[in-house]
């Protein structure tokens, strides 16, 4: 063979090779479809169809329904609906769908079709551009999965953050309590000593006064009352004392409530307040400091009496409950994370038929020295001490208004776990 001929053949071979490589890398191709009475009678696919679909233009020419069969069954309805738009005289929007490649793999294609019509405005066929978007779709899918994982991580981080924040709040609260406790002890010492001097001096003066000096005795009595009141305020301040002072023992909450009601019997009778009790049967016991929890109930019952100057009813309900996911979110939102899902708790509700609480007062109700009572009737520390005691027990307390009128206090205390030692 002539050397020139050999060189020419080699050049053709190399050119063919380049063409095949180029064709294999093509991801877009044009095609045409011709219709007769709405039925596909001829298709013409550009050479790029081989790399995108695995089929040759000739195979498409021989089988007008080949494309339709390649469409993924789940996407077929969308593809048909997209084509139907053309028969209605519209240019359909670009559609992305899956096809089966000849090698069995699934490919994603973007298909843009432009219809053309005959003289009778009947759909005569359409031209289209198919683009292989598999790589982009796979990247999108990976992105979606990564996004999903990121969302999970974010949700987990958000939950951890909320828990950390709640823990931080509890630590701050504990530190605050400790600081207030130390402050209270200091204030108590500095105030109670002069009160002790006043008390002794007053007692001495009362002993020295003649019985007929009625006004003098009355003045002394007023002074004695003032000393007692100041001592009560200091005593309430000491309610902030540190948690180690809690004397936790297994207690039946029902019994503590009944004892507290006996302690306030005089106030209830004076205020003409009736008590309606509704305790669920078989309430679990709770680890409680008896005297402090009684102090809580006494405070709340006296508050309820003050809220019903013309008489009324205090309803006391107690029930047991197991904390659910919904409860956990609620208690976390309102009072820090105090309970875990599955914890058994006792819920005590104390409702009155009094005047209720002004909405603008609700957020301040537990603040020290906040009171709505007349001067001399309340120290503004009763509910602060009440909340401190409940907090020290790891419980939570909320106060709000009832729809029917009056206020309602809800206390949640952790019950003794069944496997805990008594």
């Amino acid at each position: 063979m002539q050397p020139d001929l050999l060189r020419a053949e080699e050049a053709i071979r190399q050119s063919d090779e380049r063409y095949r490589k180029l064709l294999a890398s093509v991801t877009d191709y044009i095609y045409s479809v011709r219709l007769q009475n709405g039925v596909v009678v001829e298709t013409s696919h550009g050479p790029g169809c081989l790399s995108v679909t695995g089929y040759t233009p000739h195979e498409y020419a021989m089988d007008p329904n080949l494309w339709h069969r390649m469409v993924h069954p789940d996407d077929r309805a969308g593809v048909v609906a997209n084509a139907t738009e053309m028969s209605l005289g519209k240019v359909p929007p670009t559609i992305e769908h899956r096809i089966f490649h000849r090698d069995g793999s699934i490919r994603w294609v973007r298909n843009q079709r432009v219809p053309h019509y005959d003289a009778n405005r009947q759909l005569a066929g359409y031209d289209g551009l198919v683009s292989d978007v598999t790589s982009r779709k796979e990247a999108e899918e990976k992105l979606t999965q990564t996004n999903g994982r990121l969302r999970e991580v974010l949700a987990s981080l958000t939950k951890s953050h909320a828990q950390l924040k709640a823990t931080q709040m509890q630590l701050i609260e504990a530190e605050k309590l400790q600081t207030i406790g130390q402050l209270a002890a200091g204030v108590a010492h500095e105030v109670k000593n002069p009160l002790a001097i006043l008390q002794m001096g007053l007692s001495y003066l009362v002993g020295s006064l003649k019985y007929e000096d009625g006004q003098g005795l009355m003045a002394m009595k007023e002074m004695g009352d003032a000393i007692n009141r100041a001592n009560t305020v200091v005593g309430n301040l000491l309610g902030f004392s540190a948690p180690e002072q809690l004397d936790l023992k297994d207690q039946e909450i029902e019994r503590l409530i009944r004892r507290s009601l006996i302690l306030v019997k005089h106030e209830l009778n004076t205020a003409k307040v009736k008590v309606a009790i509704n305790f669920a049967s078989h309430l679990p016991s709770c680890p409680l400091d008896r005297s402090r929890i009684q102090q809580v109930f006494v405070n709340l019952f006296i508050n309820a009496c003050h809220a019903m100057p013309d008489g009324g009813t205090i309803s006391v309900n107690a029930l047991s409950h197991r904390i659910t996911q919904q409860d956990e979110a609620g208690t976390a939102r309102h009072s820090g994370v105090r309970f875990k899902i599955g914890d058994e708790v006792v819920i005590v509700e104390i409702a009155d038929t009094g005047t209720g609480i002004l909405p603008e007062h609700i957020s301040r109700i537990f603040d020290p020295y906040f009171t709505t009572k007349a001067r001399g009737q309340g120290t503004g520390l009763g509910l602060t001490v009440t909340k401190t005691i409940i907090d020290l027990h790891g419980g939570c307390i909320n106060i709000g208004n009832r729809n029917e009128g009056g206020a309602i206090v809800t206390i949640i205390l952790k019950a003794r776990m069944k496997d805990e030692k008594r």
Binding site: A185, A188, H189, V191, K192, N193, P194, L195, A196, I197, L198, Q199, M200, G201, S203, Y204, G207, I227, N231, V234, G235, L238, S291
Partner: protein, 126 residues
Amino acid sequence: MKNDKPKILIIDDEVGFTKLTKLAMPDFDICEENNSTRALETARRFQPDLILLDVVMPDFDGGDVAAQIKADPALTHVPIIFLTAIVTEKETSKRDLFGGYPFISKPITPEKLAETIRSHLPVGEG
């Protein structure tokens, strides 16, 4: 003439309190000591039937003074009642707060203080 009133030593740095307690409680022979560093010496000299002892004081606190008194063979039998301005009246039943010693919360009326003292005096001294 022998003074048959119970002898009470009150150790408290609050001068006003000790003075007025003495005035308000004439049924007792009260000796005041306002300096805790001199408490043991005063107790040895006065030989009280009962000691009222403040908790928070400069120099020696109530606990230190109680330990000194209990370590003295001549005073070890003398009952001690702590006087404190820290705890509330409700807590005075918790004896373990002050190492088992009884304690009372200030302020207190002379009547209540007298009643508490008498309940802790050795038999025959009240």
